[in-house]
């Protein structure tokens, strides 16, 4: 540190600006997002998990395709199988969403953020926009790469899917959309709970631990809960072959969207009401 005199220059001639607009908040959140190391690691992991599992599982399926029963062959989904890595990458991206807000609280940075931009919903909206754009981009990149990698293996058995086939393009784009939704789900849970550990645990529980457990619930209500539960609904958009007893691709995605939106709305209400 160099010694400084402590003298203050005359009031700086700052150009008249628009102040703390939403666009300004988005630029700020963009800079914040990409100036911490965890972001790049999470984005790289999302890509590696999605594509890596596509290669692994597609290779495995294509080598054992000869031994598969006729029934299994009939329900084989070349597109859905190539996107199987989303099961893991959805967690990575959701945790990134959690961290985007929870680290503001764990570091105390939230007070500086809200002092600079006292309109808190503007901050939350800016975070959601940056996160959605980045997650959608990495989701689409990962899913298209995973799709092509998967089809390389399937092509050897002539069971590959093509983007021009019915529903296939929708499913691959849908994989990217699902990644974005998971990120926003994480942001929403993080906004409500504020603590990193609690929010990460809750997000993992809600996205992958609880959904399969809902199958244990009895009766028609149990079936309904299973169908509508977070990833059980949201993941349908990445499939071409319809899973029995599940919601349709767009219906499922709409349900999952409504779910994270509801949690984010709750978070927004709490964000405005609570002391920072």
């Amino acid at each position: 540190m160099t010694a400084v005199t402590g003298a203050v220059p005359d009031q700086a001639e700052l150009p008249d600006s628009h102040g703390a607009t939403l666009a300004a908040a988005v630029r700020s959140e963009w800079t914040k997002f990409f100036s911490v190391r965890s972001t790049m690691w999470a984005l790289i992991s999302t890509f590696v998990f999605t594509v890596g599992f596509a290669a692994l599982v597609s290779w495995g399926v294509s080598t054992s395709y000869g031994q598969m029963s006729a029934q299994d062959r009939a329900s084989f989904d070349a597109t859905g199988t190539s996107l199987v890595g989303l099961t893991f990458s959805q967690l990575v991206i959701a945790v990134l969403g959690v961290l985007m807000i929870s680290t503001e609280y764990s570091t105390g940075g939230i007070r500086g953020t809200f002092t600079a931009v006292p309109r808190r919903l503007r901050v939350l909206l800016a975070k959601a926009i940056v996160l959605a754009v980045v997650a959608l981009a990495i989701g689409l990149l990962s899913c298209f790469t995973a799709f092509y990698v998967g089809q390389l293996f399937f092509a050897s058995k002539h069971i590959e899917a093509h983007l021009g086939d019915p529903q296939v393009f929708r499913a691959v784009v849908g994989g990217g959309l699902y990644v974005a939704a998971c990120a926003l789900f994480g942001l929403a849970v993080g906004t409500v709970l504020r603590h990193t550990a609690g929010a990460v645990t809750a997000t993992i529980a809600l996205l992958i631990v609880v959904p399969p457990l809902t199958l244990l619930l009895p009766g028609r209500w149990g079936d309904a809960i299973t169908r509508y539960f977070t990833s059980n609904a949201g993941q349908r958009i990445g499939e071409v072959v319809h899973t029995t007893n599940a919601l349709g691709p767009w219906t499922g995605y709409a349900v999952f969207t409504a779910e994270w939106a509801a949690v984010l709305l709750l978070g927004a209400v709490l964000l405005v009401r609570r002391d920072a």
Binding site: M1, T2, A3, V4, T5, G6, A7, V8, P9, D10, Q11, A12, L14, P15, S17, H18, G19, A20, T21, A24, A25, R27, S28, E29, T31, K32, S35, V36, R37, S38, T103, E104, T107, G108, G109, R111, G112, T113, F114, T115, A116, V117, P118, R119, R273, D275, A276
Partner: protein
Amino acid sequence: MIEARGLTKMFGDKKAVDELSFIVHPGMVTGFLGPNGAGKSTTMRLILGLDRPTDGVALINGRPYAQATAPMRQVGAVLDAKDVHGGRSARAHLRALAQSNSLPASRVDDVLDLTGMTEVASKRIKGFSLGMSQRVGIAAAMLGDPEILMFDEPVNGLDPEGIVWIRTFMRSLAARGRTVFVSSHLMSEMALTADHLIVIGRGRLLADTSTDDFISENSAARVRVRSPQQQDLARVLAERGAVVDRVEGYLELSGLRTEEVGDLAAEHQLTIHELFQQRSSLEDAFMELTGESVEYHAGSAPHAPAPPVSAQQ
């Protein structure tokens, strides 16, 4: 200008801030003084809209801060220097803040220069000392070159050079017409920095006065005298108009000088064993004022030597 009107904040059933009303004017340094736990930081958070008041309002230039369109042009605040994501470089942290208010990127270089942080700007904040973090906080507060500056205990963690620097810095801001509102629990520090004092204890306003008045009112010299004929001496002194108290085996009085007390005793042929002038320090005056309002007393050690205040000069 900062204005608090009946500002009240409850945490559970505990009143952290209790119907505080005051005005902080531009062109001077206003010290916000009170013992630890008096509610200074909470009051600052209420002013910035970070906490919601239970009752009352805090206004910045007549409006709640949350309604500001260009917040960083209006207010710069350094609350807790460690309230920042350590994983970011100082430059990235400042750039993000500048962007949030559409401030030109050149301001980042300006404030890094102002605080002497240019050389370490690309390092991650995590590795900074408390003093360096304070400078990052001050740099952030100065980004919008605001009219109003708020500092919460700014000298904490600073080395003597840093303390002199921030004192000069605050005084020069005030000299240029800015509103400077700075909290401290150190009376001696405020005596050197502040033109005006707002003193609180247990969330309540105890004094709102100029520093000069506070000093002259509260550091009046008192005389102590010990005599085997304490009763008679007290009567004689009281007849001469002195206000006499009995303290620790002495008579303590104001209104008469030591010479007058000695002469008076001789005149009445009263024996004196001890006679001296007791000048209460500002710190004493502050402790007397806030004594009943201190949240946590450190046992009963009335004569414990005051801890040395670093870098007085």
